[in-house]
Amino acid sequence: MEEEEQVIGDFNRWRQRPELAEAVAAIKALTAVIQRSQASTMMGLEIELKNASEMLKAWDRSSISLSAGCDLFMRYVTRTSALEYEDINAGKSRLIERGERFGDISLKARETIALLGQDFVQDGCCILVHGSSRVVLALLKLAANNGKNFTVIVTEGGPKKTGMEVSKKLSAAGIPVTVIVDSAVAYTMDRVDMVLVGADGVVESGGIINVIGTFQVALIAHSMKRPFYVAAESFKFARLYPLDQQDLSISTGQEESSNPARDYTPPHYLTLLFTDLGVLTPSAVSDELIQLYL
């Protein structure tokens, strides 16, 4: 039990930094587990890691990025020849090294994505943003800092009105913002050059799971032939494969189908994904997942 408390404690400590994604906090906590581990065999260490990972996932069952991040960490870390080391300490240090590297990558993921994605922002363009994603904010701030002139339209994101927060942050960065009601997306799409959203999770088919309303915006963008870009870190790649919205709620355990918090956007409506692995097409997501889970 002590171990459990320690893991959760670590996790919460990392989470106190508001800029940090949950998954990254979990990854950092898991790396600490390896450091603390007293196991005398690699198998024992793996089991400890697995237990810690389960605990973290249980903390918030509905967070796809959290469980995806934990799974990916396990895969990334254990998928090494270190497991063949006879010397447990050498193996451990190798695992710690990999864990830290994974943690660093994830931490810097946002910067990498901002760097890649800001190339797609052109002078004088108008971007539609839906949902509140820190990655998207980082991307837009970087673009503004690099001297690009563009305007942003933010959906209100009711009923919690998350869009207002986003618009405040964008104004603070000196970007002209307009807030529209969710129902006005089709009306506004004419004026928009591209749509940019974040993601809670990226699924195996290349589709994304994001705050409710994303699918709607994607449908409108697709039918009016506007590019739809997603900014997501690679630790959000999950081994889910929803066939439709109902399938999504089943696999993530979402109970409320009358007031869902998230929806699934099929890959057909996405143009490109900006990830720390590079700018990917939706079909490349499965490629990356297969390589990782080989």
């Binding site: 494969y241 066939l243 109902q246 399938d247 079909s283 297969i290 390589q291 080989l294």
Partner: protein, 654 residues
Amino acid sequence: MESGGGARRGRMVIDPKVRQVGFVTPGEQDGPAGVSSSSAQVNAPDSPAPVMIPPAPRVAVPAAADHSPPKPAAPVPIPPRSPPLPPRNFDAEDEMPLGSYNPGGEGVLAGSPNSSYGKASSEKAEIGDLSPTMVAELNSSMMEMSLERSKYELPVPEKENESTADVISERVEVPAINNNEGPENDARQRKLKDRTSKAERRALQESQRAAKEAARASAAVAKAKPPPQKKDGSNEKKGVDKKPVDKSGEKDKKKEVVVPEKDKRKDAPAPRLQFDDEQKVAKARRRAIVEQTTETKHRVELFRHLPQFVPPTQLQALEEKYLQNDTMHIHPAVYQVGLKYLTWDIVGGNARCVAMLEAFKEMIRDYTTPPQKVMSRDLTAKINSHVSFLSTCRPLSISMGNAIRSFKLKIGKLRDTLTEAEAKSSLVSHLETFAQEKIILADKEIVKHAVTKIIDGDVVLTHGFSCVVEMVLSHAHSIGKKFRVVVVDSRPRLEGRILLRSLLAQGLKCTYTHINAVTYIMQEVTKVFLGAASILANGTVYSRVGTAAAAMVAHGYRVPVMICCETYKFHERVQLDSICSNELGDPDALVGVAGRKEFRELVGWDESEHLRLLNLTYDATPADYVSMIITEHGMVPPTSVPVILREYRKEPIL
């Protein structure tokens, strides 16, 4: 400057809007059919259109013969064809009185092309339009001669989509077709070679193809005298083995032409045996254990490049051959399996593959290395002959092909230091592991993934009988999911009934319908599960005929389509339609309807000139209609098939 290369370039340059009808030469202003020669001149003089030939003092064939509608449904725009008139046969016919294989007759042609024209063409003019049926009456000796001749002609590029029977009706200049080896002949050939241009050689090639076509139309026996110069190299397997073009390079001319195509072919995977290539078919036939009858009278032209259906009457011939012939050495286990394939007793990719692997295990166990022979090489040769036997019983499925490939690789990798017993046991264990891991365990994994996609209240549709889909549905039912099944069936095999019987026995609620009602029933369906014979690199699903229709209708109704397929069935090739590669079934199976004796409209179909029955076995479903593919590695989108091929086949299978 080879005509092969020129022909290829020429074909690409042809402007479809200005199609050449008949034959134009670079200089000539009015071709026989009065076609515009401007397009001919557009092509560089040294890369003329394929059908260009020099004018010759001859009696022109009636212009009507030159016009023909472009070949329908050809995947590549090809120069227009005339009705199949094989001028080669006229020569042959002329020569017949001289004997089937007579250098003297050849000499007439080889000596001075122009003069031979005059002689032969007059006869040709009389003969006029020879219909295919008349051609079919030409006897086998003539065919032999064509075959003799044909081996010196330009090789038939297997990659070409052109059909081979259609031919240029005009007389073509005969380059040196000389059966005699000898330096003086070579010299003469070379001289003649210079005189003929690429286009002429190309035209000749096409005419000779027609000749072979016509010859093939005659009696089935294809026992052409093995040409003395032909080197019987390694065994040529039909269908499965990717072999480069026949390398019996006797003549310089042929070699010259062969080289660029061979180079190009070395980069591309070797194509399968195309059955309209008479040369290859004849060679394969000589090696085949079972006689193949090609009933060209009943052949559907669009599918002539595929092996025609072999009726089970071959059983008789098989038995005789097997029992009489000592050199066969087909292991009884393999023979049994082959018979089961022939009678369609064993159907389905997995079943056939497993049966074959079992038979091979028996064969390996009983195998002893002959003295003075290297085990791996001798064994490979034996496997080749067994595989060729199996493929004559019924064309190999892709699953079998992949299994064989991996097995042969394993044989090749056997270390010399192993004793025979060790090597044998290692091979047997390879076969066992292959069947266990790639098929049986893989199926279990697939079932595990697939049942997560079935929820209470689902209406699951499936087509035909896939053993994996049956396992999925059974397992889902056994773990208590509440769903019902719609089984869609199609003639002539009605395989869905087997699935239906099995599901009903387990207590599932089933609906049974035929493929014609699939658009109606699809309204009620929530998910579609289908099996596959193979999945190709571009995500195309190659499966039992009717699958594509069901998938397309499902896509139209926005119903997700799940394909359950093991990864060992994946294949690197790409197929865009169901025509270029398929298997032809028994046309007579379409005639009667089981249990309905009053349907007799199609009885006697083979007597009609105009009616052909086509019974295809497989079809290709485009990747757009597929929502996901369930493999033992998990659920992947159809775009990830090349990724799996890349990642999991880094080393050859096992």
